[in-house]
């Protein structure tokens, strides 16, 4: 059950997290992101020889790379939403503006999640 919930949270398929759940998720995603972004830095500095289209496309098309790229993007925007959610809750006291900002934030995250999946699907499966 727990693992299912975490998966739904990552895919942006659940509501805003609160209190203890939020605290836990923020730390978990932070640790996962440390590993994922280190991987990306390593790829950028030591694996990719150039940022030319052909090479970047071939790099992103590799199944393992593609999987890690998807996870990196999803965890980045998940962790980012958790963080900005707290900023909004801390500095905006008017409940209505708070809600509007939170749903705007959620809108941007949904855009990122969809863009990530559609793009990576096209990169890997389009000839």
């Amino acid at each position: 059950m727990n693992i299912v919930n975490r998966f739904l949270n990552l895919l942006c398929l659940s509501g805003f997290e609160q209190a203890r759940g939020h605290w836990r998720s923020q730390r978990e995603t932070a640790v996962i992101l440390l590993i994922l972004t280190l991987w990306f830095l390593y790829q950028l500095l030591f694996v990719l020889n150039s940022l030319d289209f052909i090479e970047v496309q071939a790099w992103a098309r590799d199944p393992l790379n593609a999987l890690i790229i998807i996870l990196t993007s999803l965890y980045m925007i998940y962790h980012a939403e958790l963080g900005v959610q707290v900023i909004i809750e801390d500095y905006v006291s008017d409940k209505r503006s708070q809600l509007i900002l939170l749903y705007t934030l959620r809108f941007f995250r949904i855009c990122v999640v969809l863009t990530t999946f559609v793009s990576m699907f096209c990169i890997v499966f389009k000839s």
Partner: protein, 130 residues
């Protein structure tokens, strides 16, 4: 709708500036900037998916003078947020809470951030010559 009684925290404008709260607010600013960078990452992925022309367009946009200045800020934020995040994780385990430890680890984080940011750009520019 009436304002609720939730306290607005922390009181940035009246709080005495010192190492701890400066680094704390910098953690939030860098996090907010990294939110925008996370969105750019998906734009970059979309440009790869849409083919060579879109990739060229996004590449030129992302390597303009203004964009490079923003990337420097993003890389600084990235290293700062990661290192300071480790500091936060240590605090979550109840370690390093004494005043002198907090100040000391803060200076270490700032020093390492500057070192990592500059070496990152040194490596990237010698390799890719943007």
């Amino acid at each position: 709708m009436a304002k609720n009684n939730q306290p607005l925290s922390p009181h940035l404008s009246i709080y005495k500036w010192q190492v701890t709260n400066t680094l704390s607010i910098l953690h939030r600013f860098s996090g907010a900037l990294l939110f925008l960078a996370a969105m750019d990452f998906s734009i970059w992925l979309a440009s790869i998916a849409m083919g060579e022309n879109s990739y060229a367009l996004i590449s030129s946009l992302f390597s303009s003078r203004l964009a490079l200045a923003i990337w420097v800020a993003v890389s600084f934020s990235f290293f700062y947020h990661s290192l300071n995040g480790l500091r936060h994780l240590a605090w979550d385990f109840g370690k390093g809470f004494e005043t002198h430890q907090v100040n000391y680890s803060g200076f270490i984080v700032v020093f390492l951030t500057l070192a990592l940011t500059s070496s990152f750009w040194f490596f990237l520019l010698t390799k890719h010559a943007l």
